[in-house]
Amino acid sequence: MIAAQLPALQVVVPLLGAPLCLLARKGNTAWALTLAISAVALLVATLLLGQVLAQGSVAYAFGGWAAPWGIEYRLDAVNAIVLLIVTGISTVVLLFAKTSVAHEIRPEQQVLFYTSWLLCLTGLLGITITGDAFNLFVFLEISSLSSYVLISLGSDRRALTAAYQYLIMGTIGATFILIGIGLLYMVTGTLNMADLAGRLPELTASRTVRTAFAFLTVGIGLKLALFPLHLWLPNAYAYAPSVVTAFLAATATKVAIYMLLRFMFSVFGAGFSFGAMPLPTLLVLLGAAAVLSASTVAIFQHNIKRMLAYSSVAQIGYMVLGMSLASSAGLTAAVLHLFNHALMKGGLFLALGCIAWRLGSVRLGDLAGLGYRMPWTMAAFVAGGLSLIGLPLTAGFISKWYLVLAALEQGWWPVVIVVVAGSLLAVVYIWRVIETAYFRDRGEPAPPVQEAPLSMLLPTWLLVGANVYFGIYTDLSVGVAGQAARVLLGTAP
């Protein structure tokens, strides 16, 4: 009986956890509760992925009202994998969070911090699992508002301006999405995504549908930080508390990519998005521009968190490039990179969290000689960095390899060149960190710095280790990504 209710529990458990958490008196109680709830959500996501792989798709009707009259949750391989990423990253980062949050967040704010965390988790899961366009908007706002709060709790005052800037851009994006959904509703009379997908094909000539398409693309592009709409992201990631950066970098943009995939392929259909509209050209140009420009800017950053934030904008570019191919291979690469990038950026930002905890700084200059004083932390950073570059035997290699193959399949040579150039630029910015940490003396006598505690190192290495694992054993990740690509193209249920 429980098995049939899992889709609802996936979102309701963290949703109910939030008010419970607010009633906690101490930060540590709130942390334990949040971790437990996140772990339950991870378990549910795992079971759901099993259900999806066994039976193709799973639907759930809230209130017992059949879609399209009621709100429906609908799962397939595409969102099941995203649910697993979001809950998995949340749980691992929370393991890390206790020590880091106790250091970075004032005691009286810790309970509110963890409550916001659960809300953000609720929102991200709700966006991913829903089959109703308006319900997506509501949960989008839950995740957005809570992430503004999480970012604003960073200890630098620039965290406040970063959160404000994100709030303005995010609300413009959400309003554009609201306009797009309204226009779709206007011409179809429904809000259910599957129902929309059934009714839109006969309306491809409608100018209202085309406008809705444009508004949804721009709105989601803002949330996604798709070049050139990415300007809010570097500051938000640079000044947020360490664990928030790790969590959001590994999940929020992934969920936005998922939204784009869902609307472009499932709702509008590949035939419309990539036939009637000039989307492939647009996406390939924006994706390439994102990879090249953001990677170049990353080289010139002195704050490593900011450097990795620009790198995230570039990585989004790779996913968009894969999407723009609109082929089975291209979509497999996009979904695969979505999964792998969550692992690398999660691991890298956690390693930075260790450094911030010990040094109180993540500026490049302060890292001189750190490779010998925090060997495990820096080794984790290097391993994550190699995956980001795309060296063989790491997860990053696998997704780039699939992306290159997909581009070659269609003879898109320029895309291959962009991928290679982006990887070389990544070598440069990761090398700057390695060089400073291992080959540069501080000059002055270094203050004694100890290695980070095990409670922080273990979660970091868990994610870094996953990069290596999924770089060698690719059956699971490639299998699910391939299945997701077939679902998106409509060749599998």
């Binding site: 009986m1 008010p19 419970l20 009633l23 209130g63």
Partner: protein, 139 residues
């Protein structure tokens, strides 16, 4: 404003009326416009009026921070909890029909409870937001 006796007396008379009106809006949404959200806002308006006339310190004393937090959490828990109860009774989440012998009764009861949850959380959040902004104003 706080030293004006007329204002204080008028406020004391008006407050019960405001709360009564809030209750009316809360439970009358079935027939006319209104419901939990609007009722919560009106309820909060009553408290805010009290705070404006008698001072925010008086309002803080009347509604301590712990009570506000409890209210904020409780309303949402009531709404989400109704769904959990319907799950336990063998229905889908928020399938109110399972709450009573007949589906229609269950629907009425469910809607009554969730609207109540909305009212409580909205009122508590509004008062908390008012106090939070007011707390910054006093030097």
């Amino acid at each position: 404003m706080r030293d004006n006796p007329v204002l204080r007396v008028v406020t004391k008379i008006t407050l019960p009326l405001i709360f009564l009106f809030a209750l009316y809006v809360q439970f009358h949404g079935d027939f006319g416009p209104g419901g939990g959200f609007q009722a919560g806002v009106i309820f909060a308006a009553g408290f805010i009026l009290y705070g404006l006339v008698f001072g925010t310190e008086a309002l803080r004393a009347a509604v301590p921070a712990a009570v506000l937090r409890l209210g904020i959490a409780l309303g949402l828990m009531l709404y989400a909890g109704v769904g959990v109860v319907t799950l336990g009774l063998g229905g889908e989440y928020l399938a109110y029909g399972t709450l009573a012998h007949t589906a229609a009764h269950g629907q009425h009861l469910g809607i009554f409870l969730v609207e109540l949850g909305v009212g409580v959380t909205v009122a508590a959040v509004m008062v908390a937001v008012f106090l939070a902004f007011a707390g910054r104003a006093d030097p």
